[in-house]
Symmetry: C2
Subunit: 154 residues, 2 copies
DNA sequence: TGAATCCAGACCAATGAGGTCGGACATATG
DNA sequence: CATATGTCCGACCTCATTGGTCTGGATTCA
């Protein structure tokens, strides 16, 4: 179905929340989970992975929590998804290092890999800041669709 | 992980095979499965769905099999994936008709829906014919990436 | 008739996602 | 300094979905 996992969704929501509240030095995972009504422990695990990659800074102890380690503009959706769900491949057989083991004459993957790169490029062009301020993301997506339809017509 | 299912992969491979052999009036599911080394019964079920949707014409009996019902240029990757895996949604909570039931204040989905449409547009711009003749698909994907990077820089 | 093929449904197994539990650790406060 | 509170953190479990198989029936051609 080509959908990204709920964890990635939660991660994006949490980053958006942090970007919306830059004044608070660190917000706990529980607070974010409560505001969105999602399981706290699951969100905690997601945030842990984001902290491990370096997108978030964690602070233990009382009044502890998480904070963005970079500006919201410099965090792309691709980074977040990659950190949580691992490398994204549209083709199901290309799993990291080893390629199609069963079908050596599988020539379908090559063009699909290009499609994969295009999708990655789209995700890289969306930042956490765009999630907060809808206008830029919306207009950018509209532009992209126009461009795509143009190339399809050539 | 944002990957499409193996069934969709198999379907695209089969359509590519049919597009490469336009002279033969009908190819059996077993033949295609043997040439690619994929389970025959699973591919059969995939082809049945494609036939049900109208992308393929089936012919039972001896020397029977499948044939494209349209020109390869007019069959998009989006159609194939949609027929096999159902509607594609990048967000995991939007399932068809009913939207996010738990989080009414989930504002992340809106911009992601635009991203979803962009990806759909990319898939709609790739046809089965493009899978056979790599050049067009490759150059088109390269163009798309350039355009994306341009909009990202604005 | 019989062989080969499509078709439809139920059925099983494994992978991975969603979710939970207990422990380690850091900080605030008396 | 000691304790208690609240957080991070890793391992564990359950269950839905996917990938794949099996059985039986319908259709066509030699």
């Amino acid at each position: 179905m080509l959908r990204l996992t709920k964890k990635a969704d939660y991660g994006l929501m949490a980053l958006k929340y942090l970007a919306e509240h830059p004044e608070t030095p660190s917000v706990s995972a529980k607070d974010i989970a409560d505001t969105y009504g999602i399981p706290a422990q699951l969100l905690a695990k997601v945030l842990q992975r984001l902290a491990k990659v370096g997108l978030l800074k964690s602070h233990a102890g009382m009044n502890g929590g998480y904070a963005l380690s970079k500006a919201a503009r410099t965090i792309t959706a691709f980074e977040v998804i990659h950190a949580i769900d691992g490398p994204l491949f549209i083709t199901s057989c290309t799993k990291g290092s080893k390629s199609c083991d069963l079908e050596p004459n599988c020539t379908v993957k090559e063009p699909l890999a290009r499609v994969n790169e295009s999708i990655a490029a789209v995700l890289k062009s969306i930042t956490v800041y765009d999630l907060v301020d809808h206008e830029t993301a919306v207009s950018r997506a509209a532009q992209l669709q126009q461009l795509v339809s143009l190339t399809a017509r050539m």
